[in-house]
């Protein structure tokens, strides 16, 4: 039985190695898609958040002549002011149309009220649905409130009161996020990319070895042989596993290389994506390989054609996202009971590694055992299905 399983394995492995589509998707696009997209996303995201405060913010000011002091202050803070007399409705329209992004209106009663020591009105027109403008508006709002509190302190001093009276509480914010913890937010989706690449690696082989065998018309001759169906299924699943493991290895290598070029540290983040981490990731994900292979082979065994199998297996690719998405929504922390859920347990363990948290040996063992047990059940189910004569219909 083992010998025949080996024969099936070698044949499936070699046959798919010669298939351009399999190689392209399993060993190239699948594993490289994640790291490249990720590298681009992360470096762009970092670039944006860092360069933001240095960027010149351009705003339109209407009625600037009524508030020379404020105008001067804003200019000194690096804002570029465009002066234009606009009515409120005209300003609204311009912002809605997108011809102007931020408009600050100084109304006529600003100066008299300011002089009288009453709250002087200012109107800020912006579109908060646009994330770029929203950041600009936030910056402008912060500047205006800083200007306001400066004026308030001056007024108190002039009246012989301590400016500290206006500051009843002083809040000191202490952020406990470690540098790598901050990186987690950015790297949150990386684990799914890893699981995805792994499944993509076996996808085409799983289809080719089942629905492909049927569509090609080679299945009947194969089933007529005096070979235990378990050996056929076992060899096919093992070959799928080999491709998945290969794809996983390529994927992790690519991540290591990409992160060497993404300067996370420069921004106060550290992501442990060295060779050691990659090896740990590989070990964490390896028990998921037979599970994914058995699941894809079982699902594909029920389909009649290549196309049908592709449709169903695309949904299978999404299954591991569900627990991960669930975990991010409810921000689940690593807990032993969660280690029973495959894909989620791999996600949590990899996240722990990224955060530099120590891994509990028990968690790793439970994660591996639950995935392997489920894999064994699915392999048995697949072999049982292959023993049914409905396989040929």
């Amino acid at each position: 039985m083992i010998g025949k399983l080996g024969i099936v394995f070698v044949k499936e492995f070699i046959e798919n190695l010669r298939d351009r589509r399999t190689i392209l998707s399993a060993l190239l696009l699948g594993p490289l898609f994640g790291p490249l997209l990720f590298g681009a996303m992360v470096s762009r995201g970092l670039h944006q958040s860092v360069s933001e405060s240095d960027e010149v913010l351009e705003i339109t000011v209407s009625g600037a002549e009524r508030a020379p002091n404020l105008t001067h202050y804003l200019e000194s803070q690096g804002l570029k002011l465009k002066l234009a007399p606009l009515s409120e409705s005209a300003a609204r329209e311009d912002v809605r149309q997108g011809t102007r992004t931020l408009v600050l209106i100084v109304p006529e009663d600003y100066a008299p009220r300011f002089r009288a020591g009453e709250p002087a009105p200012l109107e800020l027109v912006s579109d908060s649905s646009d994330s770029q403008t929203r950041r600009g508006a936030e910056r402008l709002r912060a500047l205006l409130s800083a200007y306001g509190s400066g004026i308030a302190q001056q007024r108190l001093q002039v009246r012989g009161l301590s400016p500290l009276l206006a500051v009843p509480v002083a809040v000191n914010e202490i952020d406990v996020t470690t540098p790598s913890g901050r990186a987690i937010v950015v790297l949150g989706f990386m684990t799914y990319f890893i699981l995805f690449a792994m499944l993509m690696g076996g996808l085409y082989l799983a289809i080719d070895a089942t629905a492909g065998e049927r569509e090609r018309g080679s299945l009947e001759a194969l089933l007529a042989l005096p070979v235990a169906r378990g050996a056929l299924v076992g060899g096919k699943i093992l070959a799928t596993c080999a491709y998945m493991a290969l794809s996983l290895a390529i994927n992790l290598t690519a991540f290591v290389v990409v992160f060497r070029f993404v300067p996370l540290e420069q921004f106060g983040m550290s992501a442990n994506l060295g060779l050691m981490t990659a090896l740990e990731f590989f070990a964490i994900c390896l028990p998921f390989v037979p599970l994914g292979a058995a699941l894809m082979t079982l699902v594909a065994s029920f389909t009649r054609s290549y196309r049908e199998a592709q449709t169903y297996l695309t949904s299978v690719l999404l299954i591991p996202t569900l627990p991960i998405a669930f975990a991010s929504i409810y921000s689940l922390k690593t807990r032993s009971s969660l280690m029973l859920i495959p894909s989620l347990s791999q996600h949590l363990l990899m996240t722990s590694v990224l955060k530099d948290e120590p891994l509990a040996a028990r968690d790793v063992a439970v994660s591996a055992l639950s995935a392997l047990t489920l894999a064994a059940l699915l392999i048995v189910a697949t072999a049982r299905h292959w023993r049914r004569e409905s396989m040929l219909r």
């Binding site: 024969i7 044949k11 046959e15 010669r18 065998e213 007529a224 005096p226």
Partner: protein, 249 residues
């Protein structure tokens, strides 16, 4: 020797094969003749063990074919209706794969494939990927695959489908040679001329039942005519199957 003993197969409410019994002896070519949908393929599929009969049994050289690793299967070469090959493997690798799964030792396999390549005239495309082969070449490779373990019994489901005249002729020659070597050959066809030209024995199937069985001569005698075609019609007429008979080629 291949034996069908009261084979019965139902698909849901439809009884595809009913109590089919016949014997295909060694050293003879037996033809299973019937219209499309008469139950030929279902019967053959039970004989080579991919369908489980609902009643009766199939034996090859006296061994029950049931059980996925039954010894009976090793004594059987099968050319199924669909003769699919693995497109990314060469013709040789396709044959080798089945040989290995059938447990033919490596050295023996090499010798055997060279011999088959010579006999079936597939030497020139033995090293080519199967996806580039013509239909005729594919069937030859599938035939080599079925014969790779030198099985004493051979089952072929409509083997001449898609073959040109030359290929049909060489297939006939091969089957005659195998017969003279003492093999038991059972093949299905809906073409009378083919059966008449090749077979020693005929089993006529209609509506899932055996309508007539015997030597070509005895079928002729039963119909009271010298033409096998006339005899077939005689057998079939009472069951009003002539309309669906597609074998008048």
């Amino acid at each position: 020797m291949i034996e069908a003993r009261s084979l019965t197969k139902r698909f849901g409410a439809i009884e595809a094969v009913r109590e089919v019994s016949f014997v295909a002896p060694d050293g003879e070519i037996t033809g299973l003749l019937g219209a499309n949908g008469a139950g030929k393929s279902t019967t053959l599929r039970m004989l080579y063990g991919v369908l489980k009969p609902d009643g009766g049994a199939a034996h090859v050289d006296g061994i029950d074919v049931r059980g996925e690793s039954s010894a009976a299967r090793a004594r059987l070469g099968v050319l199924a209706h669909a003769t699919g090959l693995y497109g990314n493997l060469t013709a040789r690798e396709n044959v080798e794969y089945f040989g290995a799964l059938l447990g033919v030792p490596r050295a023996e396999l090499r010798v055997r494939i060279s011999a088959l390549a010579r006999e079936l005239e597939l030497e020139e495309f033995l090293g080519q990927r199967a996806k580039g082969l013509s239909q005729g070449q594919r069937i030859k490779v599938a035939l080599a695959r079925a014969l790779v373990h030198s099985p004493p019994n051979l089952v072929l489901d409509e083997p001449t489908n898609g073959l040109d005249v030359m290929a049909i002729r060489s297939l006939r020659e091969l089957l005659r040679r195998l017969k003279s070597e003492g093999h038991c050959i059972l093949f299905s066809s809906h073409v009378m001329g083919e059966v008449a030209a090749l077979c020693d024995r005929v089993v006529i199937i209609g509506h899932g039942r055996v309508l007539a069985e015997g030597s070509v001569q005895s079928i002729r005698d039963r119909g009271g005519t010298t033409s096998l075609e006339e005899a077939f019609l005689q057998v079939l007429e009472p069951r009003a199957e002539t309309d669906s008979w597609t074998g008048l080629e």
